[in-house]
């Protein structure tokens, strides 16, 4: 039997199915060293950056926190109130602690998917392990931050999230970097296990830099009556981002939903898709994506629904807004039904700001630029995502900060 390492070695030169092919040797493997410390005592510069990706320095408003800078885990703790509900630790720690964890490692995402998954196996730099205990409802969000402080660094994390049967939680993961960092490569493997009757809401916010590359690789497995909601947001320019997370609705009545908002600026090359595979009776899926492209940004907005069982239903809605003549949005919605009774549908629309809408708002007294800003902001309305109210407000706040600057 071949080990993960063998599989990785075979895939180390394998380009990804999508996105520009990167030479992974162009990045540095020499991180800065960071000693463990409370998040709030990190340099002010870092604290300002993490706020933009939803990570709070104070512990009071988060049930648990994990913080990694470059390759070092500097903080991880569960608030005392939630100690019997959830655990959080570095992935390495977890693998040492739990022998059974190897049955969750590289089980949804294949190690030989491409050179980036291979890299995460061969040059693995931590990541986090979060487990919500059986029947525990964690009312406050958990947070994880993956931060890069060294220019041109390659950071490869592998995260495992397990929502045990009947549990419920929201996790916010923010990935960002120090203002001195211009280049680099972040590879993030995340494997989600949503067990029977569990509900997991995962919100990931990326803020990278102009010359930065990012290659997340995520997969979720959802058991009977489980619910998995993934929210992804990326508002800042970067060199290239490519990801295509997949959710397998394996159990009866399993549900998955992907909500994505991309704001592509500068010369960003962004290729983001979501895929849902319906594998059992009563499974439901929904993919909603919003892409805005300005300047010379190129955005590929993909979506894939695959029906492998009868009495399943899924819908894909992809909308794109082009704000510049040099920007491009390709919407690629795909449906594949392998059996009868898999009801799959999609709608996709890409276009400029509708002049008729601008005129209407101007007839109410808004100036042209106010009207356009209002329409763009409306386009990124998160209330359609069906998130918990508090999380919705937080995300809206982050969008407002970003769009205020962009518009």
């Amino acid at each position: 039997m071949s080990t993960s390492k063998d599989d990785a070695l075979r895939a180390i030169n394998k380009p990804a199915a999508y996105g520009p092919d990167l030479d992974v040797n162009q990045y540095s493997r020499q991180p800065k060293n960071w000693e463990p410390c409370p998040i709030s005592s990190l340099p002010k510069e870092i604290l300002e950056r993490i706020l933009e990706v939803g990570v709070l320095p104070e512990r009071e408003n988060r049930a648990a926190s994990f913080f990694q800078i470059d390759h070092s885990v500097i903080f991880r703790a569960v608030q005392s109130l939630f100690e019997d509900k959830v655990e959080i630790m570095s992935a390495r720690e977890a693998l040492e602690k739990y022998d059974w964890l190897k049955d969750y490692w590289w089980k949804i995402v294949s190690v030989d998917t491409d050179k980036y998954t291979a890299l995460a196996e061969l040059a693995w730099d931590q990541g986090y392990f979060i487990r919500i205990f059986e029947d525990q409802k964690v009312t406050m969000p958990l947070q994880a931050c993956l931060f890069i402080s060294t220019d041109n660094l390659n950071q490869n994390v592998h995260n495992i999230i397990i929502a045990e049967p009947g549990s419920e939680a929201q996790i916010i993961t923010g990935c960002t970097l120090h203002s001195s960092v211009q280049r680099g490569l972040h590879v993030g493997i995340t494997e989600f296990y949503v067990k029977e009757d569990a509900k997991l809401t995962f919100t990931m916010i990326h803020n990278w830099a102009q010359n930065f590359d990012s290659r997340p690789r995520s997969g979720a497995l959802i058991e009977d009556n489980g619910v998995f909601i993934s929210n992804y947001m990326c508002f800042k320019p970067l060199k290239s981002l490519q990801m295509y997370p997949v959710a397998y609705c394996r159990g009866v009545n399993a549900r998955a939903r992907f909500n994505t908002i991309i704001y592509g600026t500068g010369t960003s090359y962004i290729d983001v898709g979501s895929k849902i595979v319906l594998q059992n009776e009563g499974c439901r899926g929904e993919i909603i994506s919003r892409a805005i492209a300005t300047d010379e940004a190129q955005i590929y907005a993909r979506g894939f629904l695959q029906g492998e069982h009868g009495n399943t239903k899924a819908h894909l809605e992809c909308r794109g807004l082009i704000l510049s003549d040099k920007a491009i949005i390709y919407a690629v919605p795909e449906l594949m039904a392998k059996v009868q009774g898999a009801e799959l549908s999609h709608e996709a629309a890409v276009g400029k700001i509708a002049e008729e809408q601008v005129q209407y708002l101007m007839a109410r007294g808004f100036s042209r630029s106010e009207a356009e800003a209002l329409i763009v902001r409306g386009f990124m309305d998160v209330s359609i995502f069906g998130l918990p109210k508090e999380l919705e407000r937080e995300i809206q706040r982050m969008i407002d900060i970003t769009t205020e600057r962009a518009l």
Binding site: Q357, L361, S383
Partner: protein, 246 residues
Amino acid sequence: MVKCILEIQNLSVEVSGKRILNNVNLQIPEGEVHVLFGPNGSGKSSLIMALLGFPAYKIVSGRIIFKGIDITSLPTNERVKMGISVAFQNPPVIRGVKLGRILSYLMPDENKIGELLVKVKFPQSFLERDINLGFSGGEIKKSEILQVLAQNGDFIVLDEPDSGVDVENLRILGTIINDALHGRSALIITHLGVILQYINANMAHVLMNGTIVCSGSPVKILGQILNEGYAWCEKCPQVKTMRCEL
């Protein structure tokens, strides 16, 4: 002679190269309510768009004078700020832009918005609705009136406020509109004139094929149209008397 709040002089308008309005002349004295009749596609709504300065409605000749100022080349929002408030016939859906967001821009006082909602019998939850998304025909009318009231202009334009509205809501809207017209000037487009049961109009005009073909007493003109159809208007004499001055 009283002052004109609006005077449209020899206005001709094209949309994508096609002539839609031809030499339209219209005077509305301050404080008067005028009605605009005309068959489907005759150019009534287009006249409103041109009045607002929507760029697709290209003015090929003529002038629009509002409150004594030539507004023919002003951007829409500046015209509106001078006091023109329009309730549209077919307003667009704007996803993610809430009715409440527009109302609070027009009327920062939240209590006043609450009062308006009660007036048109809209639940508070309507403020959270994306503007015009999934609104029923009657709800569009109410939402448009609501915005016009919040805009508080002194020249009100209503494009078919009574079409597709049920009896109960017609009463609600008729009463509100009548209240709103107090001390204001207005131009109201209607087909069947049902709204005229609730308001007093001073004058009516008939627009056919992009031209105003006759003007006169609203009741008389409506009666003739209902009895004989628009064919009657073709032979009715054009009223040319000046009713107001700039």
